[in-house]
Symmetry: C2
Subunit: 185 residues, 2 copies
């Protein structure tokens, strides 16, 4: 008898099937923004697992030493991807969250502004860091992460996203880096 949790190789879903697990929510967090809600994708094990599998396939043969991700949604994909690729994870966090000496970077968001921190000793000199976030819009958060990785002594292997909102200038802002996304809108 098969155990419920056993994984079949044909269990992985296609991009369009994954897209069907993203819920569109108009006017969140502010009027005029169509929010792409990833929680239905996360709560469905097959979709979540397929997402991590597809991401991993993009980077399996690249030399990557670490994965970096900004809280909080970035953690949801970066942590399993780090396990899958067998590399360590570097959390990039909001002010006051990292307990050791940090480097910081301030930037403007799509709606509001933000400041991110990385532990000053997080990255061995020259380490290749894959940066991952759930969503690419204007690219501000990812650019901040890339700046922090470089400030800390690493190099950016690539910038990866589960979702890319095309036409918001994100790729242009990240033109110095390889940009990979799984689902485009």
């Amino acid at each position: 008898m098969k155990k419920v949790r056993e994984v079949q190789s044909d269990q992985y879903l296609s991009s369009s099937e994954l897209k069907s697990r993203i819920r569109d929510i108009p006017d969140f967090p502010v009027p005029g923004i169509l929010y792409r809600d990833i929680t239905p994708l996360l709560s469905d094990s097959r979709s979540f697992r397929s997402t991590i599998h597809c991401l991993a396939n993009q980077f399996r043969d690249l030399p990557i030493d670490l994965i970096g991700a900004a809280e909080a949604r970035g953690f949801l994909f970066a942590a399993p991807l780090a396990i899958e690729l067998n590399v360590g994870l570097i959390p990039i966090r909001k002010p006051g969250k990292l307990p050791w000496k940090t480097l910081s970077y301030s930037y403007e968001l799509e709606y509001g502004s933000n400041e991110l921190h990385i532990h000053a000793d997080a990255i061995p000199k020259g380490a290749k860091v894959l940066l991952l976030d759930d969503l690419l819009a204007t690219g501000g958060t990812m650019e901040a992460c890339a700046q922090l990785v470089e400030k800390a002594g690493g190099t950016v292997a690539a910038c990866a996203f589960v979702i890319e909102l095309c036409g918001l200038g994100g790729r242009e802002k990240l033109k110095d880096y390889d940009v990979v996304s799984l689902l485009q809108y």
Copy 2:
């Protein structure tokens, strides 16, 4: 030739080895608190992977439908554990972060107060939810998560932690639930 990223079964670390990857930081976030910094554990792939493996071994044979976790540090362990156990993940978040209808719960923290939300439609009726967080101190955050799971129609399969700070009343606060921790201090 072995690939660097290949995983050996003897690669998993013991509890005391994992503890050596937790950094003690005095007086963070406030004077008198000894903060257990998990970032060295996360950045070392062998330690991070061993942690997820040990957690998974605790729950592999339990009937679990979903894993729930509070942002942000809870996500770091809950997301790979969900992939490892092949179940979905339910993010429990701070106010204003979840875009759909939510249920909320307010509580007092070790230092300050907090309010957490869960999507009202996140949990199918009667689903068994394993709750996971990085650290058990007074148990306030986990109790909030458990209340939210039950409000949303689920049952709490167990409350799991990477680190337990013993003697702060966490287990007493969570006495209605099975509590499992990997590393005790």
